[in-house]
């Protein structure tokens, strides 16, 4: 299941001329600068703090265009369904086609069964790092779910990064990532740490990026008060809820599986699989990976302090 993004539509329209380019807006998300051109519309509030002044060449340029075809073109690659239990986000279905060697044609449909009229159509070129989109639904913000997740995925693949389902906290100057499938306790454990004074980085999904010989965690826009955060990762835990607290360090293939099974992946291409796994292998060599079973309640905090922080 694609991660859930809670980006509520904004009530007001933000100015779209920042940075000196008419009708354009630059977002900096996980260190990637994404220029949204020819856009006028509502910006979800969660993106407010991610808007940056236009200073350098963007990592990706996304432009509104009427010339993007609504009919699938090229070879079918993969499709996915985004469902969520959050009322603010509607279900969706998306399909990706390979138009030619480097250009992808992406169609996003409202709901999980309607495949007749896409609400957003895109052509994305990850060699030139440009994309064109056409909206069939008024007031849709292009960087909303599920398009944002798909764009983030490709940015991750080609930039030594991973997109990891995880919650993340900073506690006593140590940055800890907790990864697991939905419903396993990511939010629960981050709330436990937060109740004891930890800073919450995010509780749903993060970019993990290899930068300057270290691995950093970056948050992505989810909640209205979110601000861009970047922290060097100290520990990464694959969590389970258990009857007792238990910590086992993982190595080799077990560590890699713990990470990769909770990353956003598409797995239609050997090249992409190899790029993601190469990043994953580098991650397990640089960051200690643990299997952590934790009891509900605060006992996990002195347990972790005793095992790792003293």
């Amino acid at each position: 299941m694609i991660s859930r993004l809670l980006c509520l539509p904004a009530k007001r329209i933000l100015p779209v001329n920042r940075g000196g380019i008419l009708g354009s807006m630059l977002f900096c998300i996980a260190g990637f600068s994404i220029l949204l051109k020819n856009f006028s519309g509502n910006i979800p509030k969660c993106f407010n703090s991610f808007i940056k002044d236009y200073k350098s060449i963007p990592d990706f340029i996304l432009s509104n265009s009427d010339n993007v075809s609504g009919k699938p073109s090229g070879r079918y690659l993969i499709s996915g369904t985004g469902t969520t239990d959050l009322g603010a986000i509607k279900d969706s279905h998306w399909e990706i086609f390979q138009k030619d060697e480097t250009i992808l044609h992406l169609l996003i449909f409202p709901g999980t069964s309607n495949k007749e009229r896409p609400e957003m159509i895109c052509e994305l070129d990850f060699q030139k790092n440009i994309g064109f989109y056409k909206l069939n639904t008024p007031n849709l913000f292009p960087l909303s779910y599920p398009f944002a997740n798909i764009l983030y995925y490709y940015l991750a693949v080609y930039n030594q990064s991973l997109l990891l389902h995880s919650s993340c906290i900073k506690y006593k100057d140590k940055v800890m990532l907790f990864t697991a499938p939905s419903g396993t306790g990511k939010t629960t454990i981050s709330k436990i740490f937060k109740s004891m004074g930890a800073e919450l980085i995010n509780d749903d999904m993060h970019f993990i990026r290899y930068q300057d010989n270290n691995f950093y965690v970056h948050n992505i826009p989810v909640y209205e008060t979110d601000k861009p955060k970047k922290e060097k990762i100290d520990y990464l835990f694959r969590i389970y809820q258990g009857k007792e607290n238990k910590l086992i360090q993982l190595n080799g293939i077990n560590a890699l599986n713990a990470i990769m099974s909770n990353c956003i992946r598409q797995d239609y291409s050997k090249t992409q699989i190899n790029l993601l796994y190469t990043t994953g292998e580098k991650l397990i060599k640089n960051v200690p990976i643990y299997k952590l079973a934790f009891q509900k309640g605060k006992s996990v905090i002195p347990f972790i302090e005793d095992k790792l922080l003293i």
């Binding site: 694609i2 079918y76 690659l77 993969i78 499709s79 996915g80 369904t81 190595n251 080799g252 293939i253 890699l256 599986n257 990769m260 099974s261 992946r265 598409q266 797995d267 239609y268 291409s269 050997k270 699989i273 190899n274 796994y277 292998e281």
Partner: protein, 89 residues
């Protein structure tokens, strides 16, 4: 099972410290739940599947490496290849 198995082109594999992960190529996110991990014995069997070695040849490789009977080695080869049947022809 083909007595001389060969690998298809529908997976990607990674080897770490003598063990192997096999990641299926898929065209639907919903099919993406499963990867296959092979321990060192499974990795030796898999690495010797090349369209030339027969089941008996693979069993002989394992039999000569570990302190087991030839029948046990052959059984290990069968179990491993059955698990990986989707990637074999």
């Amino acid at each position: 099972m083909n007595p001389i198995p060969s690998k298809k082109d529908n997976f990607s594999e990674r080897e770490i410290e003598g063990e192997i992960i096999i990641i299926p190529i898929v065209n639907n996110i919903a099919d993406m739940n499963k990867v296959y991990t092979l321990n060192k014995t499974g990795a030796i069997i898999w690495n010797n599947v090349n369209g030339k070695n027969s089941i008996d040849d693979l069993a002989k490789i394992i039999y000569e490496k570990y302190d087991i009977t030839f029948e046990e080695a052959k059984n290990d080869v069968y179990l491993t290849l059955e698990k990986l049947a989707a990637f074999l022809s």
